[in-house]
C-alpha cells in the first residue's frame, strides 16, 4: 500500500484537471489585469480627446484656464503610473511559474495576490496585519497564489463589508498559520470548493473554518517535499 506522502497524493491527482485549473486561474488573473489596463487606456484616451477638443476651441479663438491643461497632464501622468504599477504586478505574477517549487516569503505573495484581486469588481478591502518576522516557506508559489486567490474570491463573495483581515502566526517550527477573519457568516458555498480542496491536498495545507467570530485558518507547512509531475 502506498504511503500518503505529498508525492503520492500529487501522482494520484488527475494532473490534466490540475493543469486546466492552473490555466483557468492564469486566465482569470490576466483577464482582470487586461480589464484594468483597458480602464487606464480609456481614461488616457478620453483625456487626450478632451485636450484635442480644447485645441479646436483655442483655434476658434476661445479662451480657457490653463489649469485645465495642467489637470489633464497630471491625470495622464497618474494613469501612466497606475499602468506601470499594474504591469509590475503582472510581471511578478507571470514569473511565479518560473520555479515549480521554491523558498518564498508568503507575506509578499499574499500582498501580490490581494493586489491582483483588487481588479475584480466584487473585491473588498483587505487589511494585512503587521507581521515583522519573515518566515521562508518552501512550496509551489503558483499553487499557493492560486489557493489564496480562490480563498479571497470566496470571502469577497461571502460578505458585503470591506473588513477582511489576514494575519500570520508562527506557533511552531513546522507550520505558518495564515488566518483570514471578518464579518462573514458562511463560506460553505465556496470553501473548500473542489479546486481549493485539490490545492490544499497537494500543498499539504490543513484548514479550519470557525464561525462567530468567523475565522478561516490555513496551516502551511514550512517545507513540503513537492514533486509535481511534468515540471
Amino acid at each position: 500500500m502506498k504511503e500518503n506522502t505529498t508525492e503520492n497524493i500529487i501522482n494520484s491527482v488527475n494532473m490534466d484537471s490540475l493543469d486546466a485549473e492552473g490555466l483557468k486561474f492564469f486566465g482569470q488573473v490576466t483577464a482582470a489585469i487586461s480589464h484594468e489596463l483597458k480602464n487606464i487606456f480609456a481614461i488616457i484616451s478620453e483625456t487626450t480627446g478632451f485636450l484635442n477638443d480644447l485645441t479646436q476651441l483655442a483655434r476658434k479663438g476661445e479662451k480657457f484656464d490653463l489649469s485645465i491643461l495642467e489637470n489633464c497632464n497630471n491625470s495622464i501622468a497618474e494613469e501612466i503610473e497606475r499602468g506601470f504599477h499594474t504591469i509590475r504586478q503582472m510581471n511578478k505574477f507571470a514569473h511565479s511559474v518560473d520555479d515549480p517549487v521554491k523558498e518564498i516569503d508568503v507575506k509578499a505573495y499574499l500582498e501580490l495576490v490581494v493586489k491582483l484581486t483588487q481588479f475584480l469588481s466584487f473585491a473588498k478591502k483587505v487589511n494585512i496585519l503587521p507581521f515583522e518576522e519573515s518566515i521562508p516557506v518552501t512550496t509551489s508559489p503558483f499553487l499557493l497564489q492560486s489557493l489564496i486567490y480562490h480563498v479571497l474570491c470566496c470571502l469577497y463573495k461571502s460578505t458585503q463589508e470591506d473588513e477582511i483581515s489576514v494575519c500570520f502566526e508562527s506557533r511552531d517550527d513546522r507550520h505558518l498559520h495564515m488566518i483570514f477573519s471578518g464579518p462573514i457568516q458562511d463560506v460553505s458555498d465556496c470553501f473548500p470548493s473542489p479546486d481549493i480542496k485539490r490545492i490544499l491536498d497537494i500543498l499539504s495545507i490543513e484548514s479550519i473554518v470557525e464561525s462567530e467570530p468567523f475565522k478561516l485558518e490555513m496551516s502551511i507547512p514550512k517545507a513540503v517535499n513537492l514533486r509535481i509531475k511534468g515540471i
Binding site: A31, S34, H35, E36, K38, N39, F41, A42, I43, I44, S45, E46, T47, G49, F50, D53, L57, S75, E79, S121, F122, A123
Partner: protein, 116 residues
C-alpha cells in the same frame, strides 16, 4: 439629449461627460448603480451608458432597475472586458455593447441612432 453615464472609473466618466457636453449633449454622471437609481428617480433620461462590471449593482442589473422607472430609456453598455458573460441572466444579445477605450464619434452616432 439627456444622458446618464454610469461607471466606477470616475476620471473616465467625468472626462467623457465633458466631451459630450462640448458636443451639445446633457450628460449626468453616477459612479455606481445606487447613485444612478437615485438620479434617475429625479430626472428623465433618453440614454443610459452603463459600465458592465461595477462594485455592487452590475450594469446589466442596473438596466432592469432603470428600465422599470423609464420604459423608453435606451441602453448602451461599455466594457473593458474582452468577453461579456452571456450566461448572466440579465444579458440580452439585442443590447448594444461598446468596448473601452471608447471612440466618442461611435458612441454619439449609436446614441443618435437608438433614440431616433
Amino acid at each position: 439629449m439627456k444622458v446618464i453615464l454610469v461607471d466606477d472609473e470616475k476620471k473616465f466618466i467625468n472626462m467623457l461627460a465633458k466631451r459630450l457636453k462640448f458636443r451639445g449633449f446633457d450628460p449626468i454622471v453616477a459612479v455606481n448603480g445606487e447613485e444612478a437609481i437615485k438620479i434617475a428617480s429625479e430626472t428623465q433620461f433618453e440614454v443610459a451608458v452603463l459600465d458592465i462590471k461595477m462594485p455592487g449593482i452590475s450594469g446589466l442589473q442596473l438596466k432592469r432597475e432603470l428600465a422599470a422607472g423609464n420604459p423608453d430609456l435606451k441602453f448602451i453598455f461599455v466594457t473593458g472586458h474582452g468577453a461579456i458573460d452571456k450566461d448572466d441572466d440579465n444579458f440580452n444579445p439585442n443590447d448594444i455593447y461598446l468596448s473601452k477605450p471608447l471612440d466618442i464619434e461611435i458612441l454619439i452616432s449609436t446614441m443618435k441612432k437608438i433614440v431616433k
